[in-house]
């Protein structure tokens, strides 16, 4: 091994320095996004800048910031686990049908509430319960289809995700045919997500706890993920039990995505772009990637929420899903062109 190889290899001082600089950059960017969200608001005429003079408005901004931090961080971490698990840089929580499952859950709940008014409670809290159940049911189906000879197969899982996504989407449309016209439109809008400014304290606390625990567990699995990102044979050769690691990563990823969906509804792109942004800044070592992906996801969502407070084309504030999709696709394009992909 040459001196140059030795200094740029994982574990070298140059690698450690670059990782530390990447983490500091990410932290500074996240701090900037949080500050921007806390300092930007809206009044009747348009955006306002500076801290509000009323405590309740400060509470709105704080709730929105905490919600976006938790949901964005969860989606970023969930995307990283899936990209490692599936060895697919395009993997994200929604490629496994979580978004389509949430939409199906919401549609079925609306239909059930219309058919049996006593079931109207299903739609409480922005139809949180059916959305989470729908997401997890879609994932369970993906896992069921994605098993080959009792083992989770990376390629089959991706294909199963595409199939379940399409099926859940089609079933949601089928159920919506039985709903009043107005409700159909509202469900489509619900799919664009939300950043709650007045959150249910129980939901916010539960989502936070689930996310923190899942990310802590994922961090403990970081070294195994480093090996699993290569190939099954290489992972086994360094003592990683891939058969046990895959269900663990899938379960944690599902918990993180469900927790984000419970809080903010289905949000696309954050789980896809977050891990790539983290890799660009902090390298491919999972000890750094887990917290970096968390911060990158949070940065994207908090930043998008801050941006939508300012942008107003006379039609009110944009739905968060529109902003994350535009920002996410632009960021993805920029990352692809600016940096050489770090993916092995």
């Amino acid at each position: 091994m040459s001196d140059a190889d030795r200094t740029s290899a994982p574990g070298s001082w140059r690698h450690a320095l670059s990782r530390a600089l990447g983490m500091i950059t990410m932290l500074l960017l996240l701090a900037g996004a949080i500050a921007a969200r806390m300092l930007v608001g809206r009044d009747a005429d348009g955006p306002t800048f500076g801290l509000p003079d009323r405590s309740e408005i400060l509470s709105f901004r704080l709730t929105a910031t905490v919600s976006a931090l938790v949901a964005g961080g969860s989606l970023g971490a969930s995307g990283l686990l899936l990209q490692t698990l599936l060895r697919n840089p395009l993997a994200s929580p929604f490629i496994l049908g979580l978004s389509a499952g949430a939409g199906l859950g919401m549609s079925v709940a609306a239909w059930a509430a219309m058919s049996t008014p006593s079931l109207a409670w299903l739609l409480a809290g922005g139809a949180l319960l059916p959305a989470v159940i729908g997401s997890l049911a879609a994932l369970a189906l993906v896992v069921l289809i994605g098993r080959r000879r009792g083992v989770l197969d990376a390629l089959t899982l991706v294909l199963a995700g595409v199939i379940v996504s399409s099926l859940a989407g089609a079933l949601a449309l089928l159920v919506q045919q039985f709903l009043p016209l107005e409700t159909r439109g509202r469900i489509s809008l619900w799919m664009l997500g939300r950043i709650p400014e007045v959150a249910d304290a129980a939901v916010l606390s539960l989502s936070t706890i689930v996310s923190v625990l899942s990310i802590a567990l994922a961090w403990r699995l970081a070294r195994a993920m480093d090996a699993a990102a290569l190939s099954d044979a290489e992972a086994v050769s360094v003592g990683v039990d891939v058969r046990r690691l895959r269900p663990a990563l899938l379960g944690l990823s599902a918990l993180l995505a469900a927790s984000a969906t419970a809080l903010c509804g289905p949000l696309a792109f954050v789980g896809l772009v977050g891990p790539h942004l983290a890799r660009m800044l902090c390298g491919a070592t999972h000890r750094a990637l887990v917290p970096a992906s968390l911060m990158a996801g949070a940065l994207l969502l908090v930043g998008a929420d801050a941006l939508r407070q300012i942008v107003d084309a006379g039609r009110g504030r944009l739905p968060i899903g529109v902003v994350t999709a535009i920002l996410g696709s632009l960021a993805f394009l920029w990352l692809l062109r600016r940096f050489r992909p770090v993916w092995p």
């Binding site: 405590s55 609306a110 936070t208 509804g265």
Partner: protein, 303 residues
Amino acid sequence: MDRRRLLLLLAALAFGAAACEPGPDSKAGTAREGDAAAPPSATASAPRIVSLSPAITTTLLLLGEKRHLVGCSPWCRGTADSTAVVWDGSQIDAERLLALRPTHIVHQSTLGNDPGEELAVLARGRDWSTASWRLDRLDDVRTMIVGLGELLGGDAHERARELAARLDAATAPDENAAALGPALILFSADPPTAFGPGSYVDDLWASLGGTNAISGAAYPELSVEQVARLDPGWIVVVGSDRLLDSIRDWPITASREGRIVHADDAGMLEPGGGLAGAIESLRAELARAAGAARAARDSEKSP
């Protein structure tokens, strides 16, 4: 990270999350009592109305409340330029809503994505009158008009009564509608989508004495083949002129013989107060169509 640190972190995050919920003490009403910028009482002075439903907004404009309308949805039509948009269809812009200092907030309740729940939390402890209505059927529209008048009081109450009476008069039986026979009522041509039983347009069509050519769902999507098999005697088109262009090419008797009634008043596409005027226009169109049909029959009889 050791277990104690992890537990401490979790406790801190849970505490922070719980602190984000605005408690009863953070309400605007009591906090700003006596403040010069405090919202006026809902009954004491001019109302400041926020409507999150296009149909209710149209009704408010007909009740002469345009100058009192301070907030609306992006889909509301005819509002003043100064009326702020406070709803993106997915969530309420809470900070802007508060800045508007509303006294009345009205919205349409739906089965999915209903803003009522979020509003209820925001309205807690504030001097806001909130009301919502289902607007699926014609009776719902009538109930909303009367309810809106009662909520706002004063002149609006009287105007709402007049508007409800105008709606009743407009939906009185019309011999021209009855004379048409079964009609297909379309609001989209590609794909053909109809107002079926259970929709407010079917209700008003029935009250005019008309018969709907389809049964089943309230807003069914049809194929052109289905329309051809139905071969309705008449087609009522609700919407823009562009719909007519598509329908004229269909291989059905109504299209070939020009038996199409065009209800182009935008009020027909909203289950609100605008329906009264839209039905009045429809009646005029029905009279014209029935006259043309009579003339055609007479010309066939004459040698």
